[in-house]
């Protein structure tokens, strides 16, 4: 078996806060392969962005990786020196399309100057080479190559987003982390951005970790997905397997929250409450308080990932004590439609 592009292995990230130690990500594991768009879904506050920042080694000052490992092509990023990580991996290997990337560009520098500075931090390309590459990247995302000399404020929101993608492509990374890349865009722009991302993936074989709260986007764009709830991984597996047979009550609720066009009056699933903040180190299922089928076990023992029963996929894990029961229940619900 070949080494996956990105392996997250039992990762736990905590933040020091005034209220004590907050566990933002707890015991999360999944893999992203090259040439795939991998979806990471969760509500706001579920730890998606923390996970992204942990991967790229840019957690906020009060955050730290407690345990676990992040491997990139077999290299443990978590044990690299900061200097080596910065110089060799950031942007060079792992690029990032930030949340709200329309505000992320430096307003005082021309785009081509920002590109040049980033390129020269990691490579010894000449200015002409960088310029040429950046123009081609602009072309690839549907922007006029001549506009590389402009400032961010001369672009519309969607164009800034695409300029950011062009910057992400500049050094030909193997992995792009896209953190809510389309949240601020209208549906048409959203679709365009994903079309560009997918074209780029097909051409270069880059792996994309797509972080979003929008399950429909994941269903459309990704082959595999992971569902995060309050820092715990609820379910991970191929999109088709999870769509057909959700093995975690949270995933089921999320899928049940889509309106059915043929039956608009059907009750939608409503998820009560908020994901809890884990300030006591965990040791229980974080979904237990919102779960319709939780038992005493759920509140005292943290579930471990296990292969989903009767799933068409060999790689479909669920982190639920009661997934066997749920699955039967879930299948019957689906049949009755």
């Amino acid at each position: 078996m070949t080494t996956p592009l990105l392996e997250i292995d039992d990762l736990t990230v905590t933040y020091r806060t005034d209220a004590g130690e907050l566990t933002a990500v707890s015991d999360v594991s999944f893999c992203v392969e090259a040439n795939e768009i991998f979806g990471l879904v969760g509500e706001s506050g579920s730890g998606k962005s923390t996970l992204a920042k942990a991967i790229i080694g840019c957690l906020d000052r009060n955050g730290r990786i407690d345990s676990g490992e992040i491997r990139y092509c077999g290299t443990a990023l978590t044990s690299l020196s900061e200097e080596r990580f910065r110089r060799e991996f950031r942007w060079n290997e792992i690029a990032w399309i930030p949340q709200g990337s329309m505000n992320s560009l430096d307003p005082l520098e021309r785009l081509c100057d920002q590109a040049l500075e980033i390129a020269q931090t990691h490579t010894d390309h000449s200015a002409a080479t960088v310029d040429d590459r950046f123009r081609r990247a602009f072309d690839a995302v549907g922007l006029q190559p001549d506009r590389v000399t402009e400032y961010p404020h001369q672009f519309s929101g969607g164009m800034k987003q695409r300029a950011m993608i062009a910057l992400a492509l500049l050094l030909e990374p193997s992995l792009i982390i896209a953190d809510e890349p389309t949240t601020a865009l209208d549906v048409i722009m959203q679709d365009q951005v994903f079309r560009y991302l997918d074209e780029i993936r097909q051409r270069t074989g880059v792996g994309v970790l797509l972080i979003t709260h929008d399950l429909s986007v994941v269903m459309e764009e990704c082959a595999n997905l992971a569902v995060l709830h309050s820092g715990q991984l609820a379910e991970v597996g191929p999109v088709t397997a999870i769509y057909d047979a959700p093995h975690h009550p949270y995933t089921r609720k999320l899928l049940g929250a889509f309106p059915d066009v043929r039956d608009p009056d059907a009750e939608l699933e409503v998820l009560e409450g908020h994901p809890p903040k884990i300030t006591d180190g965990g040791g229980y299922c974080t979904f237990a308080t919102r779960c319709p089928i939780a038992t005493a076990e759920c509140e005292t023992v943290a579930p471990t990932p296990q292969q989903a029963l009767e799933s068409p996929s060999q790689y479909h894990l669920t982190t639920c004590h009661r997934s066997d029961r749920l699955f039967e229940h879930g299948r019957s619900v689906r049949r009755s439609r």
Binding site: W91, P107, L108
Partner: protein, 329 residues
Amino acid sequence: MVSVRYVGSRALQTVFLLWFMLTFLFFFFRLMPGSYLDIMMYRGADPESIAVFKENWGLNDPLYVQYGRYLVNFLGFDAGLSVQYREPVWDLVRRRMFNTFILVAPAITLSYVVGGVIGGLIGSRRDSRAGEHGLGALIFVGSLPSFFVGILLIAMFSMWAGLFPTSGMVSPEVTRTYRDAVWWRPYLTGDFAMHYTLPFVAIVFRYLYFPSLIIRTSFIDVTRQEFNEFYRVAGLTPRARLRHQLKHASLPLITLYPLSMTWALGGMVLIETVFNWPGIGQMLVQAVLSRDYPVIQFVFFIIAAFVILSNFVVDLVYGVVDPRISADD
């Protein structure tokens, strides 16, 4: 970026403002209660000599004639005579303005440089002890009256340590030695440097807080902007990231520095008085007390002209440094 049209319209505005200031000052001082004539009467001048004075100085003409004459003379680089000294205003004020300028301009500039660094330092450590204490110290320094700082320095370094002269600009011996040399020769002496040190330090120390606090606040604002995270994830070195932050944080200084520089033209009365520095500030106070309108009008006009012109330059510079500004115009 900076279009010809933009420069042209701003230049036109600038010229208009300069004319407006000149006119405003002329009429403003004539509308004020009291004039040099009142002072003459108060000092016991008889009606005949006052009549002669009015006749000689053209004060019997209607105001608009006086204004026209003033404007024409001014355009010919003639700001009139000082009523109390009967000397051309320009001859009277130019040495004073020079003295003030060479003291205040470098001091304010240095306070911006040092203050910028201090502000950046305590801004980047705002969560720590050092940041809090630094802020406290700055506010303390900023609330000291400048004459107090001056007196303190004189007490410490002149009276007690005996390192520097207590006041004045050059010693009488030096003035005597260079009586026949060019006018700027005394400024090149070590004696001048010794006299220069304390007032210079006083100004730098006293006015440090202003750019420091501005930079601190703007630095904190800047570190919250999202481009920081982008640059971090993009793997820029901490140094390169700091450089970008400083560029952003120093934007407000482009506007504020010229405003602080007006002190270099109008003088710092308290500092000049404490150190007995023969600057324009002292002379201005004298001129106001004796209703010496030509002098006051001229100095005020120079200050106003400096503000107007520097704003014009700032607008142009800003357009270059921050591309977002001129684009909206």
